[in-house]
Assembly symmetry: C2
Homo-oligomer: 335 residues x 2
DNA sequence: CGATCTACGTAGATTGATCTACGAATCGTT
DNA sequence: AACGATTCGTAGATCAATCTACGTAGATCG
């Protein structure tokens, strides 16, 4: 701590240099009422000269931070990057700054969310955190929050979800139409059929449709790592009656399934994913998947949040439509 | 602003409930000297009961924020996600919190960096921002910074780079060994041969080796978007003497080049990238590339930063070694 | 047994901004 | 010229923490 911190200029320094009061400088900064052009001029010159920038922390003590917090799980999933891209776009056009707190793999989303709240963000977006709804509802009155992916119907916060039921159904019907009957499913370890998470919803639809078909569901669960997804796919292939098609809970899982299929020489097994990440359209991947417009979801989330910050009281639960993208990874089963 | 903010508990509230002074509570929180077990007990109970969490902003006014800022460009580039993964890992084991400020595509890195500084981060990591070294050196005395990717030799801040010269040379020698003589290069719009950026270094090596070979360099420049990279690749293919191999400045560019090759039916043109992103090893991509251990670079960056925060004065310029990963995307040229 | 030491707590200043009052100057009216 | 209405600027409280002094017990010691 023997730092020779070339002490940053404070509002006091600016005021002294411009020969005005601190309050006057504050007014200029905030573009508030009661500032003569002459004073504005002098103050701005002083700010310029000193390279002054207001400390957000000091501001936070009184009012707002003009900051939007974004909790981001699994950095390696490009779908989340899509959402974040949309969020960034919208924030770009406002006076707000976006700051992202990543959740380390396998850890609870609580810590990054708390970290953002500790930094007094004016609003918070989180991607499908696995926390209790009650906990979120305790936070929401103090800080507006928008959940992406969680299908809960809270009156206290907004949600943006994909049409997971519709999307999963679209995809499964597509496989069935191709002639598949033994369809395996890869999902994440924590998903429960029909729960409020996207994977839970997709799993629920999968089980329902399996029941309709009269087939026994063939589900493999994957942990966080890429290897886990690979292993899950291998387990499906090793089943007594291996599937002719695999519906992976998302594209990242699907990519690992493709890898496993290639290694197992199971060239004729179809694979489909969910999310339509950029790479899915690459000719070497050519993955059939569901596009739920991640960029749009990110945009919507921030828009809803800004509305909340501006004072809206009524909850909004937005749903992004799901569209099937048929590509080469799915075809009729080999006879 | 008609928010019924269920006012968060402050240190004053905790002190009142525990029947002690504010300073006492502060001591307990900071684990400072002069606290009896009995008092600690009572204070912790009060903290628990009120769900109290200290405001980082208020703390920042006096001391540190225990926050590390991370400037992240181009969310869509999975290599940066790798670096961030490494950074997250190291921060995980400390009392610091990582917050990320993304740079919107095509915008200056200055704004996100300033935003982090305004929030009084204790240290800052940035990925190859295109700003003047002088500007960084003005920041560094007040806030320790570590630059990833920039090959500058500043005495005021640390750097972590890949061995871009070695890596580019490895890759080009590999192509030459395969028999390629007409090798095209895709780089980013702002790169200048030999400048301090990774792309500039790689471009410099490319031009040097082209000169050694006595061939005219064939360089296409790409803007930020995926389409730009695709177009750049198309331009290379449309040259009078189209290349038999393409060395893309990074894997993201290489993936677009593959797409362009597929669309152009140029099945026999080799492609190589740089970074070894996860997808490069996928059987459908199978991209020859350079692994420069992005995760390790992220880890090193945070370690160096923590050392600086702890008081180190001497600069460190770490270099991550480059390793060639030969895959199916490069082969001998068609005769 | 009185002096010193240590452990434990507290009072109050401090940090950098915002914001509410309020005072002073300027202006147009009648 | 006197009046209220604007306009411009400042003083000082305030926000939630930290941190330096300093006070008060009780323990230790010669």
């Amino acid at each position: 701590m023997t730092r020779t911190a070339a002490a940053q200029a404070t509002i006091q320094d600016v005021a002294a240099l411009a020969g005005v009061s601190r309050a006057a400088v504050s007014k200029v900064i905030r573009d508030a009422y009661g500032v003569s052009p002459a004073m504005r001029e002098r103050v701005n010159a002083a700010i310029e000269q000193l390279g002054y920038r207001p400390r957000v922390g000091a501001r936070a003590l009184r009012g707002a931070t003009h900051t939007i917090g974004f909790e981001l799980p699994a950095l390696t999933n490009p779908f989340f990057a899509k959402i974040l891209t949309g969020a960034t776009e919208v924030v770009e056009d406002t006076a707000y700054q976006l700051i992202v707190a990543p959740t380390p793999p396998g850890k609870s989303e609580r810590r990054p969310i708390d970290a953002l709240l500790d930094r007094q963000v004016d609003g918070l977006v989180a991607i499908s955190p696995e926390v209790e709804q009650e906990w979120l509802e305790r936070l929401a009155p103090a800080t507006p929050i928008v959940m992406i992916g969680r299908h809960d119907d809270s009156p206290l916060y907004d949600t943006v979800t994909g049409d997971d039921e519709g999307g999963a159904e679209l995809l499964l019907r597509h496989l069935i139409d191709l002639g598949h009957r033994r369809i395996g499913h890869i999902t994440i370890a924590t998903a429960r059929p029909g729960d409020t998470s996207p994977h839970g919803r997709r799993l629920g639809v999968y089980e329902r449709i399996a029941a309709e078909l009269g087939t026994t569901p063939l589900v493999a669960r994957s942990g966080q790592g890429a290897d886990d997804a690979y292993d899950a796919a291998r387990r499906l292939l090793a089943a007594d009656q291996p599937p002719t098609a695999i519906f992976a809970g998302n594209d990242t899982l699907a990519l690992e399934a493709q890898r496993a299929l290639a290694d197992a020489g199971a060239r004729d097994v179809s694979v489909a994913g969910y999310d339509d990440v950029d790479i899915a359209g690459h000719p070497g991947i050519d993955l059939t998947t569901i596009d739920q417009d991640g960029v749009g979801m990110g945009r919507t989330a921030v828009r809803l949040l800004l509305e909340r910050i501006a004072g809206r009281d009524q909850p909004v639960h937005a749903v992004s439509p799901a569209a099937l993208r048929v590509r080469g990874s799915t075809r009729a089963p080999a006879v």
